[in-house]
């Protein structure tokens, strides 16, 4: 597990000195670098996961990374490579099935359970204990090496670039596949393209947050953003911003506490989600959109005919 520091300077309430204390460690710098990149890409991809209602498929896809990584370690290949190969393959298959993946929760769940069992087998064959599996399942952000950071940045950059290229047709096809198809938008191709981008994002995020906790970065910020704004661009920016915030604050708290960073990142995301759901006025926000006031100024007041 993470190197938990018994001897660190205490929390000082001075953000600058705290930040410089935290970032004086190479492993913390790597954790912040990888975490920031992963949070950014998770927010962007997460908006589309929520919009397309493919949260369960996305979760299953990230779980496929587990046997991929564990199997690769078993045969002496870099786990990240194994994870990428597995998730990209599964993502392509899911993308080709497209619409049919939705509503097939039972099948997805069965494959998911088997892949987790397979991953557990591989990792116990490899190390003889479950430490390795534990890191993959729950993340080990403070164990991120500079090589890991490079891989994470590369995978995230490709995923971000792909989503940027697909942005408009993907938005169209996600909201209204029937009209998009009639207008010659390549719906199936976009479905595959999105699942591949998701596979890259998931593989990048696993090192930070782990296979099982990936939802905290992928879905929770997007679900919070959805309630704070109703503009797609603003929702994406909001989701990415929140994900970055959760990672930064989560890592900082974990630096001063003997508990795993993953917990604080997920916990912050969860608490924020609950607050946004139940806070008085949250309903009105979601109706108006917290950031909706920007565009209401141009809103026409002419009554409908």
């Amino acid at each position: 597990m993470a190197v938990h520091l018994a001897v660190v300077a205490g929390f000082s309430w001075n953000p600058l000195s705290d930040a410089s204390a935290i970032l004086s460690w190479q492993f913390m710098r790597s954790a912040y670098e990888a975490g920031t990149v992963v949070a950014l890409v998770s927010g962007v991809v997460g908006y589309f996961v929520v919009l397309r209602r493919t949260a369960f498929a996305a979760h299953a896809l990230s779980d496929m990374g587990f046997p991929g990584a564990a199997g690769a370690a078993l045969i002496g290949v870099n786990p990240v490579v194994g994870m990428l190969v597995f998730t990209l393959t599964v993502g392509a298959v899911m993308g080709m099935l497209g619409e049919r993946v939705r509503g097939r929760d039972t099948v997805v769940g069965i494959v998911l359970a088997f892949s987790l069992a397979l991953g557990y087998l591989f990792s116990s064959l490899y190390t003889g204990n479950s430490t390795e599996a534990f890191a993959l399942l729950f993340g080990q952000i403070t164990g991120v090496t500079t090589w890991d950071v490079t891989v994470t940045v590369a995978a995230s950059a490709i995923a971000l670039g792909a989503v940027a290229v697909m942005y408009r047709p993907l938005l169209f096809a996600s909201v209204d596949e029937v009209v998009a198809e009639a207008r010659r938008v390549p719906v199936r191709l976009l479905s595959v393209g999105f699942m591949l981008a998701l596979a890259l994002a998931v593989s990048a995020a696993v090192q930070v947050i782990g296979v099982l906790l990936i939802f905290a970065l992928l879905v929770t910020p997007a679900a919070i953003a959805e309630r704070l704004t109703r503009r797609p661009g603003a929702a994406i920016a909001c989701a990415s911003g929140l994900a970055v915030l959760f990672v930064w604050v989560g890592l900082a708290i974990a630096y001063y506490q003997p508990y795993p960073p993953s917990f604080f990142i997920v916990g912050l995301a969860f608490v924020t989600y609950v607050v946004v759901r139940v806070a008085p006025g949250a309903r009105a926000w979601s109706r108006r959109g917290l950031m909706g006031s920007w565009d209401t100024s141009t809103r026409s007041t002419s009554p409908p005919r």
Binding site: V175, R299, S300
Partner: protein, 300 residues
């Protein structure tokens, strides 16, 4: 993928807008269907610019199939069809299409204006770049929303809109690319009677103002009768087209549906069809092979 952004909807079409002929859709002996057996056959009709045609018939008669043939999504089995002077092809920018109402996401951070904007640049790759072209596109979207009277709620979330409001925005989406042919599949389904009349009148006035040909698929002929130019009936594999006073008669409808259908007149001479109420909810079994609906068009 969509029409050029500069293509502002014209009030009256120029001579070139009408193409080589004066017909928007021309079908001769047309038959179509998903399998080897056509759903219907022998369809011969023309649709001219500015003409509002209601496409009617029982469930499973192949009304949506006709629209999907025109869209180039269903192959022609026999005969010929010309759409805007060409054979049907997918992604024809001259066609605005509103499919049968589907479940659109309820909570998503996406607004009516975004939906309308898809009609303009939804197929374009990349992220929209701010600039002149973007502003011009915004103006077109605003104009399309105003033309259907949806300005008051276009900036709400899709999930907060009523069925009638969403239908108007989908109509704006179909109109924003300045099409010459509008295909509307059951736009009146799941609307209350008042909204059915309002949407039918709105479509009629837009069709006339823009010389836009409209094919509107409907279940109930009554809200459409006051506003349509012609009706096209699909029933039991046959196709019948003509002005309401010729086709919407007790004799023709009884023959088409194979059951007693009455056409009655009120004191102001308006036509009403009675005897098809069951048809709307309980379709008759068809003569001939059972019609299989495409997977993406489940029965309502």
């Amino acid at each position: 993928m969509s029409g050029p952004v500069t293509d502002v909807p014209a009030v009256s079409p120029g001579p070139e807008a009408a193409g080589s002929s004066l017909t928007v859709v021309r079908a001769v002996g047309l038959a179509a269907g998903y399998g080897p057996t056509p759903v219907w056959a022998g369809a011969t009709f023309d649709v001219r610019p500015g003409e509002f045609v209601a496409v009617l018939g029982p469930n499973g008669a192949g009304k949506s199939t006709l629209l999907r043939v025109i869209l180039g999504l269903v192959p022609v089995r026999a005969g010929m069809i010309e759409v805007l002077g060409d054979s049907p092809r997918r992604g024809n920018a001259g066609i605005g299409y509103v499919p049968q109402s589907r479940v659109l996401d309820t909570d998503a951070a996406i607004r009516g204006v975004d939906l309308v904007g898809f009609g303009l640049d939804g197929g374009h790759w990349g992220v929209p770049v701010p600039g002149r072209a973007r502003r011009a596109a915004r103006e077109l979207v605003t104009a399309a929303i105003e033309s259907v009277g949806a300005s008051a709620y276009a900036r709400r979330r899709l999930g907060e809109l009523s069925g009638g409001e969403r239908q108007r925005l989908l109509l704006a989406q179909a109109l924003v690319g300045a099409p010459r042919l509008l295909l509307l599949d059951e736009p009146l389904a799941s609307l209350d009677i008042r909204n059915q009349g309002l949407i039918a009148q709105l479509v009629a006035s837009i069709a006339r103002a823009r010389s836009l040909a409209v094919l509107l698929v409907g279940h109930d002929v009554n809200p459409l009768l006051p506003v349509v130019d012609r009706v096209l009936y699909l029933a039991r594999g046959r196709v019948e087209i003509g002005p309401p006073e010729k086709v919407v008669t007790s004799a023709t409808l009884s023959r088409l549906y194979g059951s007693e259908v009455d056409v009655v007149f009120d004191r102001r001479g308006r036509r009403f069809v009675v005897g098809l109420e069951d048809e709307v909810t309980h379709p008759h079994p068809l003569n001939g092979p059972a019609v299989k609906r495409p997977a993406d068009h489940p029965a309502p």
